[in-house]
Subunit: 351 residues, 2 copies
Amino acid sequence: MATIKEIAKLANVSTATVSYALNDPSKISEETRAKVMRVVEQVNYRPNSIAKSLKVKRTNAIGVITEDITVFNTPEIINGIGECAEEHNYHIILENIRLYKRIGNNYQDTSKFTGVIKDTTSVLMSKQVEGIIYVGAHCRDVTGLIDKTPIPVVYTYCYTQNEGDYTVNYDDFLAAYEATKYLIGMNHRKIALITGLMGSGQCQERIKGYQKALYESQVLFNPEYLKVGNWEREAGYEAGKELLTSVNRPTAIFALNDVMAGGVFDAAVELGLKIPEDLSLIGFDNRECSYSYSPKLTTMALPLNNIGNMATEILINSLSKQKQKNFPQHSKLKCALVERESVMPLLKGEL
Amino acid sequence: MATIKEIAKLANVSTATVSYALNDPSKISEETRAKVMRVVEQVNYRPNSIAKSLKVKRTNAIGVITEDITVFNTPEIINGIGECAEEHNYHIILENIRLYKRIGNNYQDTSKFTGVIKDTTSVLMSKQVEGIIYVGAHCRDVTGLIDKTPIPVVYTYCYTQNEGDYTVNYDDFLAAYEATKYLIGMNHRKIALITGLMGSGQCQERIKGYQKALYESQVLFNPEYLKVGNWEREAGYEAGKELLTSVNRPTAIFALNDVMAGGVFDAAVELGLKIPEDLSLIGFDNRECSYSYSPKLTTMALPLNNIGNMATEILINSLSKQKQKNFPQHSKLKCALVERESVMPLLKGEL
DNA sequence: CTGAAAGCGCTTACAG
DNA sequence: CTGAAAGCGCTTACAG
């Protein structure tokens, strides 16, 4: 690889002039610029950005720590990060923790991998990344995972209780509210909910959204329509079966993720009920499975790409000396209903 | 951030000694090492690896170019790359091209994005990555996409016709052979095949594998059992319907991807046929959808993690001066059958 | 408009 | 065992 010195020699100028030709042509005459550029192209010279970084003390690199890139939410968040990073001419150093392989399903207990995270951030810092984006595999509290760093870090698909940390997530409350509203708009009144693990803050938020929608439309909340699940298909099946065999059978079920909705499908075929004719069903997440079911599942799509975008926007903004914008400390992006085939309006007569 | 100079001053030694303490303690006395390390820890000093890289001319960075990280195969390949990279103390600079957003479904025409690739490799080279791994979104010929580089590049989930390029893919022929063998082992003889686009080399290989398995077991290849698909669900449905309504209905269908297998499910329910009782079905890819179908689909799992691992192994090996191992130019990794619920042995009486 | 020179934060022969 | 010094490949005030 050629260096700036060699280019200078070949072009019969100083290294300073070569540098100006590349970075600030206004400082030299058009003539010499052309002369320099000719040899730059001839030798296909590419400046060593490592050397440049050392000098200017900027790397244009951001570190991305993913808890587990094989989890469904992560690739699209990275996609969004990359999109925005590219716009601002930043590049990404990726550190994928492989949480599942490392500690199995025990991801709630963040203390189990603070060590790895400490090492990872340390490496990232020594590589002089200008900021870090942390991408959780599941939305939960990760306070204390990353020590206070001299560079900004923004948390995505998870949150912390530290003053000053930026987090970017989606709005669980609003999403559940809108999903329920949608069902109500389709004339459903007997709307059951299959929740995830009750310990989850997300789950709590969604329940509230569900209840608010009911309340607003003056439909009484029926506790029997609230079934506690655990995010797994089996739980959806069990809950679905109970719901569908109860005396006061709901006309619609809102499963708090697409996987549990799959379990409801199972229960429905077992009981000989047709979706959406006999039961409307709505999921959450818009995972690949949601459009693999038959009929295709109507569901709430997570704004994953936007989360990545926004997180990067926030990070890069906080990197610039005069911050252009003031972002909220905790962004909650809007989910979008994707209408497919699993919901049908109830005819007035069926009410 | 503290520098080695400050540490040296605080510890009352030269910068050389600090460097030795950190990198080659054998060169200094245990006593001074301890003295240095004490202040290193006190100030939480982290060497600037940018500066180190400039000096030692090694970055321990490998560039990973993904055509599209949102495609199902890519995250797990990255996972495998990261695993192996971490072992060898390498780090990853990720460049995600976002091919779909960029050029839509036109990915076959690689000329449409050689420009982006040229820029991307250029950036990667100027960042002094020591090698590049290219991850295709679809397995196809990408000859000419990347110009000859002074650093090694290994291609994954795609291939080139250039002498000397390393490629890592999976063995389509063997996978199809084994899937068909499996069906035959379950006493099936009327085994239909739904192919992908016939232009695809992968598809050709799989057809050969299918035919070899039949031949070996002396079951005559019936051209009516070969339906040309296009990887999409609709095609699986059409092919499935034709097959299942034909006079000589097959007892088993091998769909060359999980998505088309979904279409076969559709056809089966429409015709009132039960899987696996009335029809055994096997897919390919082991995507999320495959275990979302009901019953869960038996399928061939792609060795994605291994592909990432192997590619990285090869790359890093070719980076070391004395190459320890001699890897084949074109690796073809083995797929693994994952048995689920969509295949049933045929009873002897049904033959 | 152009060049000589200092310096970014490290490592590593070399001398003592 | 330890330190002074050169140098990796750039950029950028500064002088001319």
